[in-house]
């Protein structure tokens, strides 16, 4: 097992670099899982109250009174008076988001079918002000509806119907399946970023070793020995596999330890592990393919950075797939990482684990396996072609 042992002796030389990657990965993973929005926030909607000062110049108008009453229900009204300077100060110091001014005879003009305007002054780019404008528009467009189709209803009734109508709340339920239990999100993030570090580690590890074994004179010296070529290759394959499985186990193990509290069910962990194991085989194939082209450390650095970052940015490891454009997604579907992330997202959204629920995940894992096999076959074909042309 000389080749097998030597594989790990050479690997030891690349250990510091690999440890840096592991550290960076853990840092990234912890940072992203900490700052990631919880699905609780994403899955629910709660209207926020804005703060406003109201100047009602139509104090006798019934509709104006009803409007102010409605605002009292939905907003935080602050009494500042009508002094222009005091109002500007209040806005500057963010005591209020906007000033709503109801002009004189507003109710009468509105009921007469004219188009009187509620005046608003607001802080530039204030979210509260935008929300206030939305509320004003919503109120008066509803009131307009009752005015036009409510017969000759009295202004008080129009105000009452409008307020009553706007009090009706629709229940919002997000249909996006990727938004599941918030406690599962951290594991999803960890397993998603795991793909990045696995690609980098595999390319770094495998190319470091193969760079030595593929040196022309060293290879010739090995070929002159009585060790059978098949046995030599088998030892390299076994060592690569052991290295890959060990790396995968460490990364998965760290994730499970770090996010132990997030584990909801054993089935989910199993699916995450299965998906990442298949991805590990893909990374191994990518590493082997890369080793055919990497001849020195400079090229090695470029290859593992470009491959790991490129694949991950393209396929939704760093940016959620929902935010990727259709063209990017179409291109990304030709990468194994795209299917890994897709499967990962689906696993995190699972609530039950029957065949119907997991069949698509198994399908995505199958696609990753097909990628692994194809990349490996391409690498073997290139290697064989090179050996023949050198002989």
């Amino acid at each position: 097992m000389q080749v097998f042992k030597t594989f790990f002796m050479i690997l030891k030389k690349s250990a510091p670099q690999m440890c840096i990657y592991l550290g960076v990965f853990l840092g990234l993973s912890i940072m992203f899982t900490t700052i990631a929005p919880s699905t609780q926030q994403a899955a629910s909607f709660e209207p926020s109250a804005f703060r406003a000062a109201v100047i009602n110049k139509d104090a006798d108008g019934e509709l104006s009174k009803a409007f102010v009453s409605y605002l009292e229900e939905t907003a935080e009204l602050v009494d500042i008076g009508s002094d222009r300077e005091a109002l500007q100060d209040a806005m500057f110091f963010r005591k209020i988001d906007c000033v709503i001014t109801i002009p004189e005879n507003f109710s009468a003009d509105f009921l007469a079918g004219k188009d009187p305007q509620i005046q608003t002054s607001s802080i530039k780019d204030s979210v509260g002000a935008v929300y206030a404008q939305m509320q004003i528009d919503k109120y008066w467009s509803t009131a307009e509806l009752f005015r036009d189709f409510g017969g000759d209803a009295a202004p008080e009734r129009i105000g009452g119907w409008t307020a009553e109508s706007l009090r009706e709340q629709a229940v919002v339920q997000l249909s996006d399946e990727s938004v599941g239990d918030p406690s599962q999100n951290q594991l999803n993030y960890h397993f998603r970023y795991l793909c990045y570090v696995m690609i980098a580690l595999m390319i770094l590890g495998i190319t470091s070793i193969m760079m030595s074994f593929n040196k022309k004179d060293l290879r010739m010296r090995n070929l002159c020995s009585p060790l059978k070529l098949g046995r030599m290759n088998l030892q390299i394959v076994l060592a690569s596999l052991l290295f890959s499985v060990a790396s995968w186990a460490i990364l998965v193990g760290l994730g499970l330890i770090l996010y132990m509290k997030s584990i909801v069910s054993a089935q989910m962990v199993l699916l995450f592990c299965l998906n990442s194991f298949v991805m590990m085989l893909c990374c191994l194939s990518i590493g082997y393919l890369a080793s055919l082209f990497v001849k020195n450390r400079n090229v090695q650095g470029a290859v593992y950075n470009i491959a790991s970052l490129g694949l991950c940015f393209l396929s939704g490891v760093f940016v959620p797939q929902q935010l990727l454009g259709s063209t990017v997604k179409a291109v990304a579907s030709f990468t194994p990482t795209f299917w890994y992330v897709k499967a990962n997202d689906e696993i995190s959204a699972l609530s039950h684990y029957d065949w119907d629920a997991v069949s698509s995940i198994v399908g995505y894992a199958g696609i990753q396996l097909a990628f692994a096999a194809t990349i490996l076959l391409v690498a073997l074909a290139i290697g064989r072609y090179r050996r023949r042309s050198n002989a």
């Binding site: 000389q2 002796m9 050479i10 004179d217 060293l218 010739m220 002159c224 020995s225 070529l229």
Partner: protein
Amino acid sequence: MVISVKDLVKRYGQLVALDHLDLQVEKGEVFGLLGPNGSGKTTAINCILSLLRYDKGTIEIFGKSMRPDAYDIKRDIGIIMQNVAVFDELTVYENINYFCGLYVADKEKRRTLVEEAIEFVGLGDFRKFYPKKLSGGLLRRLNIACGIAHKPKLIILDEPTVAVDPQSRNNILEGILRLNKEGATIIYTSHYMEEVEQICSRIAIMDKGRVIASGTKEELKAMIKSGEKINVHTFTLGQKELGKIRELPHVTAVEYEEDQLTVCYDGGRHNLIVLLDFLKARDISFGKVYAQQPTLNDVFLQITGKQLRD
């Protein structure tokens, strides 16, 4: 017979790298393959080791046909490549242990062999050094240790002294002779004729993929007409004296340029004494005198019409 190569042909497209090459190496020999760069020495070695496929011919080592899967033959061969072929990531000891381990499975036996190899090449103080910390000469010694640690019966050295300082070169050459004394058959390729002359018991001179002459160095030198060459620094030689020198026994050519007399012979004995007697008898004063024996370069020059290092 340790190696028998018959009618070996290797082509790279239109280029004929080995042109019906025949070679025989006997047991216990230090066999030199001498030729200029591109003459086919390394190609021949690579074909012998089954590292290259060839178009025609037969190769036998230890009386058996050599093939890529002839692992029983490979077990008794040690190879030292032209370029240093070691792992940069392993120490001196680890490198020798790795290559020895490809041949010897038994750990205890291997440990002894590795220690002996380290001792043999004089790398005892550097066993924990990484190759990048070694000088060019030490690196070459490591390269040799990796090839001989398993005590092969046949050692093939492909230009092992390229870019090596004279002191390290002498160490390497002495080491090769010691290996030969211990019973190994050696094949040594080089384009340095002095090295080949110094250590090889039999030499084959190659050019354009063919062996153009082979034999011991004496046999090779005997093949050519030119023999000894004597140079004398003298001042007063006229055409008359030069004519008389031309009439001396075995003289083939006489040149006199810038007070330097050069006389070439095609054989004979005591030519220097005869020439100096001739000069004394005519009161011709002379200064520095030296004689040159024919070299393998002269052999190569005479056969091919060009210098070995052209």
